[in-house]
């Protein structure tokens, strides 16, 4: 009785080790490489296909088109304004979130992240309940000659709602990475909070903040759902893609799509150069 368990363990051991070696014979590294490689192909092939589907001449010709130029202007202008607004309003909040020690912090952070997880069209609906032409705010603004829907202001409102959380969340992480002791050191040298922020915190958090700003700009450039709801006109590039595709066919959407891809790649380049932080 006593020896039985020992004996049975012994007898299963060779079987176990064969099993293990059979599993070990699978080259997991190759499997992982194939899986990852397929995903990369899935990302890259459609982009390549997009660039091959229209001749350079065709694209350049279409880029001269007045509607495309107007859409590009609207997108660049609105996304720039959005980025400035997101930065000006977002940095103080990001700093507060990084440094505050109140239980409210997580609730506030949840509010900030909400637009990120909300479907953009729902974001548009939500915004229309406040800024729509029949609301108090929207109506008053429209009467004053500054309509908040179907206007550049509307585009900016939609983009800011969706894109500004990128600034807050990324800059928060950047501020958190700056050792508080450095701020204490600066202030104990007689420097005010503002001087400390300008000379110590912002330079050290700078690369991270710039990453957030770039992400917000890229997101604003690509904003479609909320913009469609709030400001169909003036058309931004994503809206123009949709309109071209609907009215004239897919081929007509290619040039603007290519333009957006180029802008996205440029944003990526900025991000990657920014991310190389020499001080860490």
């Amino acid at each position: 009785m006593v020896t039985e368990p020992t004996g049975s363990t012994d007898s299963t051991q060779p079987a176990k080790s064969t099993h293990a070696s059979r599993l070990g014979s699978v080259d997991w590294l190759s499997v992982a490489l194939v899986l990852g490689g397929l995903l990369l192909v899935y990302y890259f092939a459609p982009l390549l296909s997009l660039f091959l589907s229209a001749s350079p001449g065709e694209i350049l010709g279409r880029l001269g088109d007045a509607t495309v130029r107007s859409a590009a202007t609207t997108s660049l202008l609105s996304a720039s304004i959005t980025t400035v607004l997101a930065t000006v309003f977002g940095l103080p909040l990001a700093y507060w979130l990084a440094r505050a020690e109140t239980p409210w912090k997580n609730a506030v952070l949840a509010v900030v992240v909400l637009p990120l997880v909300l479907p953009p069209t729902v974001g548009g609906v939500v915004l229309l309940t406040v800024f729509g032409p029949n609301t108090l705010l929207g109506g008053t603004a429209a009467a004053a000659g500054l309509p908040l829907t179907r206007s550049l202001a509307g585009v900016v409102l939609a983009q800011t709602f969706v894109a500004s959380p990128f600034v807050v969340v990324t800059a928060k992480a950047a501020f958190e990475s700056v050792d508080r002791t450095l701020e204490h050191a600066s202030r104990s040298l007689g420097k005010s909070r503002w001087t400390t922020a300008r000379n110590v915190t912002l330079p050290l958090a700078g690369p991270g903040i710039l990453a957030g700003v770039t992400l917000a700009f890229a997101r604003a450039m690509g904003e479609f759902g909320a913009t469609m709801m709030v400001a169909y006109y003036p058309r931004t590039m994503p809206v123009e893609i949709w309109v071209s595709f609907q009215s004239l066919g897919l081929a007509h959407a290619y040039p603007v799509a290519i333009l957006l891809v180029v802008i996205a790649v440029a944003a990526l380049l900025v991000l990657n150069t920014v991310a190389s932080n020499p001080w860490r």
Binding site: D179, T181, R187, S188, L189, G190, K191, N199, L204, W279
Partner: protein, 373 residues
């Protein structure tokens, strides 16, 4: 300048700091205590990094509590230096300095000329602390706080920088609070020591007063008095200056010491010295002398308490030997630290018979034997 802390308290969850009463003149107060005892809390409160729950911090009668860091004129050197990583050493010092002359002057004093144009990441630990010190002094603070600035340095550099700090502090005319957990650094740099334990000041006094006359068993143990025995007072002289105590089968004669601040110490001894009262007998290992049994008993030895024992074990601790002398068949172990020449002359080995001499004025008594503190 006078820094006065009055009824200062601060609670962090379970940990309570204070209430602390402390006055620091233009001197170096070495704050000594184990980690987590509240040393850094003390500095944070004075610097303004944390606000106290109650109490006041007066700097020349100016209330610091409630003032932001930048208005306190309290300079602080942080544990790892806290240099701004995106600035060169020079830029770090210039950031705080009021004039270029001051930068040059501090660079000369702290021997920084060679490293001024380097970033903190490329500096050694010692260089970093020098720059941090220069930066703090460049702002001309009214109080200087240092939070274990030497703790992360290698022994040789630590010793060298400690000696330099000693000279530098002597040239400063402001209160200096130097926090450390290292007793040697504390006694080397401090004009006075403050022993911190569980958020309270256990004892404040001159290094010799604290080391030779610890106020509690904790202070005794923390400052290196390893010989702590429970004993009983059996007799005292009329003047109260001589007291006989019994520890097991061994009888020790103790006397008021002839050291600085002896007035307080003498009363401390006599206060504990009613016949029959329990005391803790404290003998610092460095005060125990060893001699061979066949040594002639000279005048000095006649004065001292002499106990015979066997060497239990000995350890070479580098600059001294630690010898355990088992007295009365091991009922009592007296630890002696002996300088290498003496050790070699004695030919100490395990089990060898030896005589330990303890001068009466080197024995300190703490009232109560079972008191935990």
């Amino acid at each position: 300048m006078t820094l006065e802390l009055a009824r200062l308290t601060k609670a962090y969850g379970e940990f309570t700091f204070g209430p602390v009463e402390l006055t620091v003149e233009d001197e170096v107060l070495a704050v000594l205590g184990p980690s987590g005892s509240g040393k850094t809390t003390l500095l944070s409160l004075v610097a303004g990094i944390a606000e106290p729950d109650s109490g006041s911090i007066l700097l020349d009668r100016r209330e610091l509590v409630g003032r932001p860091l930048e208005d306190r004129r309290v300079g602080m050197v942080f544990q790892e230096g806290a240099l701004f990583p995106h600035m060169t050493a020079r830029e770090n010092v210039e950031y705080a300095a009021t004039s270029d002359e001051r930068v040059a002057e501090l660079a000369a004093t702290l021997e920084l000329e060679g490293v001024l144009d380097r970033r903190p990441a490329t500096l050694s630990g010692g260089e970093r602390q020098r720059v941090a010190l220069a930066r703090t002094l460049a702002a001309d603070p009214d109080v200087l706080l240092l939070d274990e600035p030497l703790s992360s340095l290698d022994a040789p550099i630590r010793k060298r920088l400690r000696d330099e700090l000693h000279d530098l502090f002597a040239s400063l005319d402001i209160p200096v609070l130097y926090v450390t957990h290292d007793q040697r650094t504390a006694t080397a740099l401090g004009d006075r020591l403050a022993i911190v334990r569980d958020g309270d000041l256990e004892q404040v006094g001159s290094p010799s007063a604290v080391l030779d006359r610890p106020a509690s068993r904790f202070v005794a143990r923390f400052t290196g008095t390893e010989n702590l025995f429970e004993g009983q007072v059996i007799e005292r002289s009329e003047s109260g200056e001589e007291v006989w105590v019994q520890v097991g089968d061994v009888r020790f004669r103790t006397a008021a010491p002839e050291v600085a601040g002896s007035a307080a110490s003498a009363s401390h001894v006599s206060g504990a010295a009613d016949s029959g009262s329990s005391v803790t007998v404290c003998i610092h290992p460095s005060r125990v002398e060893l001699e061979p049994l066949d040594a002639s008993v000279d005048g000095g030895a006649k004065q001292a308490n002499a106990v015979t024992g066997t060497v239990g074990r000995w350890l070479n601790e580098g600059n001294e030997y630690r010898v355990d002398v088992d007295v009365e068949g091991g009922a009592l172990t007296l630890i002696a630290s002996v300088r290498p020449p003496t050790f070699e002359r004695l030919g100490v080995d395990d089990g060898s018979e030896i005589r330990a001499l303890v001068p009466p004025e080197s024995i300190h008594l703490i009232p109560g034997s079972r008191v935990s503190r």
